[in-house]
Point group: C2
Chain length 271, copies 2
């Protein structure tokens, strides 16, 4: 699969890149269907929020146009954009106005088992907790060691995803997914103002649910609330929605609201 | 200045490198004097601790030998080693036994003003707090966005370093330094079991102080304790020790224990 750096075919970045040195940058993983990046506006919106919060200067019109050109050539697959703060001087200091580096990588469509969506999955209860950092919470930044060590906690194929709590024990998200609960016909998802990645599919589902007149709530969620939920599912912008059947000793069944939202996502992702 | 990747001259890494994708790796910044890496054993010891904690598989005998060869060619300067988990498959998952990537970069000696050591410095009181993550605390890993945003809080030359507290308000470290207090002839430095980087110079100073019969203590330190300290200094393995004269409304003067330890460090770093 091909890749670009700053609009040119390339497969490497300079050693001085701040993404490598400090994880100083952001990324987006975008599903591409028939040459079109799915939920592009939401991806770009989150990227812009990240750039503002981290004071990364980027040409967002150019990024959009490159993503569209790259996706058209990719056809069907997954497009990963990494935006770093460019090259480093010595140390953590930022040189004002240094241009961001745009890295695009294409890959084949995701190959998750179809049964994950149709039958549902089990979550591994990760011991790795998410630290609380309001200044970075919600962003899809390049500091992802917590996800790496959490994902290494299980190897068996019985668990398709892991459940992550924060340091204080709140339910937050999956390792590479956001989490939703259905509780008395209300759609709940954890507040991500202290930690977690505010996923593009999460935002889309919240908007779609509201448009359908479904009550939604973004709140702190305890393990007890999770346990008592009527339905639980995880989502991301590549695989869509997977109903969650269990996590450790907890169990749920795939319910009507999960199935309804899956129908919407299926149309979006063409899966 | 030259650079190596896996023992060969190179100035770029593949886009698939996990250091770039997730900050999935470790680094060491090593002073080199007359072709010798200073405090090499301590740097390698910390690197090995990091590899064990993150399950990064590396050939530490080879790393030592490459560092020695590279340093001999560098002469005087700063050697940066980045060790990443190598190339990524899709997602956070680790392929067992994948070889780490060794990146060496040489640069000229640090050019901090001499007065930082002789007269002392002021610390900028950073608003950015360190999040608490015991699984990563102490390691010099590549997830350094907190340091990047903290360092961006001040631009003026009146502050040579910044003071960072953790989310709970404990005094932890500088942005690129460790912090010591002298309190009634005891040498105190913050406990780094929740956050912070366990610096090589910090470890050396603790060992040297103990050898000199100076009482040392690694403990939680409050802002009040910092304020009441007799002496305060920051240190790292490149610049040595800088006495701290002030931080916000707090002030101290460079005292005898700071000066004594500076003498030891000066001999080490030849500054």
């Amino acid at each position: 699969m091909h890749s670009w750096v700053d609009g040119q075919p390339a497969d490497a970045v300079p050693l001085k890149d701040r993404g490598l040195a400090y994880g100083d940058g952001l990324f987006e993983t975008i599903a591409v269907k028939a040459g079109q990046p799915v939920l592009l506006d939401r991806h770009l919106q989150r990227l812009e929020v990240g750039c503002r919060r981290l004071a990364i200067v980027a040409d967002h019109v150019l990024i959009r146009s490159e993503l569209l050109t790259f996706a058209a050539a990719l056809g069907d697959g997954v497009l990963k954009l990494i935006l770093t703060r460019g090259d480093s001087l010595r140390g953590y200091g930022i040189s004002a106005g240094a241009p961001a580096r745009r890295i695009l990588q294409g890959s084949a469509p995701a190959t998750y088992p179809h049964a994950h969506g149709s039958s549902g999955i089990r979550l591994f209860p990760c011991a790795t907790r998410l630290s609380e950092q309001p200044l970075l919470a919600g962003l899809k930044h390049l500091n992802r060691l917590e996800q790496v060590i959490a994902r290494a906690e299980w190897q068996d194929a019985d668990h398709a995803e892991g459940l992550m709590l924060d340091i204080s024990g709140r339910v937050i998200e999956g390792v590479f997914s956001n989490l939703f609960l259905v509780d008395n016909d209300r759609l709940l998802t954890p507040d991500l103002s202290r930690c977690g990645v505010a996923g593009v599919m999460r935002a889309e589902l919240l908007a779609r649910a509201e448009a359908l007149g479904i009550a939604t709530s973004v709140i702190d969620i305890s393990v007890e609330q999770l346990q008592q939920a009527d339905e639980v599912f995880v989502c991301n912008s590549v695989y869509g929605i997977w109903p969650v059947l269990g996590c450790g000793a907890m169990s749920w069944s795939a319910g009507p609201l999960t199935r309804k939202l899956q129908g919407i996502v299926r149309a979006l992702l063409d899966i």
